[in-house]
Amino acid sequence: MENNDLVTITIDDKTLQVKNRTTVLEAARSAGITIPTLCHHEAVAASGACRICIVEMSVEKRGRTVSWMDASCVYPVHEGLVIKTDTPKVRKQRKLILELLLSRAPRSERLLELAAEYGAETGRFESVNQGRENCILCGLCEKVCKYSIQANVISMAFRGVKKKVTAPFQTGSSLCIGCLACYNVCPTGAIKYVIEGNRLKMPAWDADVKMQKCTECGALYAPSEYIKELKKKAPGLKKDVLSKCPACRRKIFKAGTPA
């Protein structure tokens, strides 16, 4: 069967036709069904790490129903697949997964929101990492830095419960361009940055980059290294577009006089 062929599947009693090998998550979303996700982001390939998007699936095999749990963000649909996204079993397992994640990230707003929805309790398990960082090791920051930005500043180090996101050798990285992609994709708000004077700093990997001044109004609007990267990656962009802050850019475009 080719990937463009259509297959018939059932999600929460709705029967629909979707392209073969679409993920269950995509199929559910196309049918207007919400499945919670944490480690999933359109910018990078799905990894199936956090497991919050687990659903119950079943197929008929030789007259018997075979069912199992799997992560919907990575599971590709196939003919005859029956998916249930919100059964008591699914809810119970998501609850436990949330409780496990809360033992590491007890103050994450997104987790607490989901916890309320699934009746998950905080403090049922021994605290990991003393709940210091709110990081759930979903890997989005690493992937977006490596594959989308291609800056390769951070990666996972160690394994198991000792795993952490860090710059090489756990030292500061001079490679960070301050693009804040990691900050933006982080589902739990674990990544922080501050602007001090004309510097942007990310304490987690000791990044410290210079901010660029808008040639129009003088406001600090983006890290210089980041602007340089943008110039390399989008050589067609007019020079002035990148040297001005978003507000000034808008003004100029509105006036109909792009530089």
């Binding site: 956090c50 599971y75 398990f125 394994r159 198991g160």
Partner: protein, 627 residues
């Protein structure tokens, strides 16, 4: 170097090999696998190396023949006589016996058995059985073993290609490349019923066929030698004792699925295996058995070695492939199978060492012959490393279908010290504990699953009545907590929290509701983990909870460890009436926690006692009690 192209080239090597294996001179081969070296084989080899210039004997080395408990072992052949294996050897004994050996005599002192024609027949001429020695099949350990994967280990010199060819090696590859089409090879493997020996037990033929049918002009074969189960060393022994069998297996597999490149992913903790394999690959390449146009045919094939960095999870196929690619060794979901998209997203067939070593033998004897061995669902033999509380610890290869009991008591010689068998842990850290009363189940992929365990790669840990099953579950779980890659939540956090609870229970801090909580976490870890490591991680807990729930309850409710293992839950006391005041425990106590004097019964000071158990072990009068 002589290239091997035609059958007559193989024949020439075969003849040379037979002359080496069945020498007309005195030949001494030291069994120098890692296990042998650990028990002192290198010292014996070095001593013999110093003597070899006398010209009175030929010195060689070989791999392990399985009975590791009795190592170091030395194989001695004198002209006209069958090889004799000497066990429990020392340098001193070697020095003493060498005097007889060089005279062509084989004294019975320290002799274990003869390697007679029940195992290796001399094709050149009839040999005499030296009198007074036990025959191979007389030894209970070997009586019911059947060697396929271990067919050469402990007999041939692993570095010597001609000795491997003399045992029929590379003839199968020759026949395969000269006239058999690849479909027929896969038919043969399918007919044989061979299932992967690395853990999962997936039908090898079906895997090969899917890979052969997968789209792609570039395909790979991989040998998984990242053997990481505690106490398991089947694959190491094959690589150290018979590396050419794996090379030949990979080449046959490569031809069958249409791959020209193979990888062996071997853990760096196996330096001798890596070195032996490296030399074997070079030798095979030098003789044209690897490289371009093997045996003058269109088929080209070569093998690279990749050393693993010591992560247990890299034994998982997708993590292993990620590691070869130079990425972090973490698994990915396998919804698109590796036979379609594996190494560098190309169709890839991965099998473990034992499976590959079986391949030439299966193709040579024919699928239907192989299928006659073993059970309906599990054909052939399986290699096990039998360790723990067992008399004959070592490596055994038995036909599938033998009962666990037979393996433990018949082959393994039972439990030392007349203690009772309590459980057998099979399948490595992700396997389960099978209680003694279930030990009459046959060894079979599906039967082991039915009792909550699995075949795994072949590690068997035998446990006697002095074993605490809660402690055992905690041990395996600790291993998995350390080895979880940390990618997915249930495995990373779930196993960790499970271990925290078990830690508490063994410290005497168990609470009501702990067992239910354990089961709740275990269920999610099993259902929702990304790879097989996480999915099977709760097995040791779940199986011990099924069969030994009372033991958990004793820890939690009564704060007692029935087996007397968990330190926090036991106390040592000296029974004054039984104490003879000999002073032995008093002198041995490393914590100075025992008081008493001449003719004064001794007493343990509870505040000082570290519960190391030395007093218990040294007391000759059973006066120390563990409660």
């Amino acid at each position: 170097m002589d290239k091997i192209i035609k059958k007559k080239d193989l024949d020439a090597f075969k003849e040379k090999g037979n002359r080496l294996l069945f020498a007309d001179s005195v030949k001494i081969a030291v069994q120098a696998g890692t296990c042998g070296i650990a028990s002192g084989a290198q010292e014996i080899f070095d001593f013999l190396s110093g003597q070899v210039s006398s010209g009175k004997f030929v010195l060689s080395r070989t791999g392990c023949i399985g009975l590791c408990k009795r190592e170091p072992m030395v194989n001695v052949s004198v002209p006209g006589s069958v090889t004799v294996v000497y066990a429990d050897m020392t340098k001193k004994l070697t020095e003493e016996l060498l005097k007889s050996w060089i005279k062509g005599e084989t004294p019975v002192k320290n002799s274990l058995m003869t390697l007679d024609d029940a195992l290796y027949a001399n094709p050149l001429k009839d040999l005499k059985l030296p009198s007074g020695h036990a025959k191979y099949r007389d030894i209970p350990f070997y009586k019911k073993q059947e060697k396929i994967a271990l067919r050469n280990s402990g007999f041939i010199n692993p570095h010597n290609l001609s000795e491997y060819i003399a045992r029929g090696g590379f003839y199968t590859l020759f026949d395969v490349l000269n006239g058999q089409d690849s479909d027929k090879i896969i038919d043969e493997i399918e007919t044989s019923g061979l299932r992967g020996r690395g853990g999962g037990g997936f039908p090898t033929g079906r895997k090969w066929r899917s890979c052969r049918n997968a789209k792609g002009d570039k395909k790979y074969v991989i040998c998984n030698a990242d053997e990481g189960d505690p106490g398991a060393y089947m694959d190491r022994t094959v690589l150290e004792g018979d590396p050419f069998s794996v090379i030949e297996g990979l080449a046959i597999g490569g031809y069958a699925i249409g791959a020209n490149e193979g990888y062996v992913y071997v853990r760096a903790e196996y330096p001798l295996a890596v070195e032996t394999l490296k030399q074997a690959i070079e030798t095979a390449r030098n003789h044209g058995l690897l490289g371009k146009n093997i045996f003058g045919t269109d088929f080209s094939f070569d093998i690279r070695i990749n050393r693993g960095g010591g992560a247990f999870v890299c034994g998982e196929s997708t993590a292993l492939m990620a590691s070869i690619e130079g990425n972090v060794g973490e698994p990915r979901t396998k919804h698109i199978h590796t036979v379609e998209s594996g190494l560098w997203e190309k169709p890839t067939t991965l099998n473990n060492v034992e499976t590959w070593a079986n391949v030439p033998a299966v193709v040579n004897m024919g699928g239907s012959e192989f299928r006659k061995i073993g059970t309906k669902g599990s054909a052939g033999t399986k290699v096990f490393s039998v360790v723990g509380d067992i008399v004959n610890s070592g490596l055994v290869e038995v036909p599938m279908g033998m009962t666990l009991k037979e393996l433990v008591f018949g082959v393994g010689g039972g439990i030392p010290g007349n203690r009772k068998l309590k459980a057998v842990q099979s399948g490595g850290p992700s396997g389960g504990c099978i209680p003694a009363d279930k030990a009459d189940i046959p060894i079979d992929f599906d039967e082991l699953v039915k009792v909550g365990s699995m075949m795994g790669s072949g590690g068997l840990i035998i446990m006697d009545e002095d074993t605490c099953m809660v402690d055992v579950a905690r041990y395996f779980l600790s291993f998995l907590v350390d080895e979880s890659c940390g990618k997915c939540t249930p495995c990373r956090e779930g196993t960790y929290q499970l271990k925290q609870i078990l830690d508490r229970i063994t410290r005497g801090e168990g609470k009501p509701g702990d067992l239910e909580l354990i089961e709740e976490i275990a269920q999610v870890t099993k259902d929702c983990s990304l790879c097989a490591l996480g999915k099977s991680a709760p097995n040791p807990i779940l199986s011990t909870l099924t069969y030994f729930r009372d033991e958990y309850k004793a820890h939690i409710e009564k704060k007692k460890c029935p087996a007397g293992v968990c330190k926090a839950l036991i106390t040592y006391t000296i029974i004054p009436e039984a104490c003879t005041a000999c002073g032995k425990c008093l002198k041995s106590c490393p914590a100075s926690a025992i008081e008493g004097g001449k003719k004064v019964a001794h007493r343990i000071i509870p505040e000082k006692c570290t519960k190391c158990g030395i007093c218990f072990d040294v007391c000759a009068f059973d006066a120390v009690k563990k409660v």
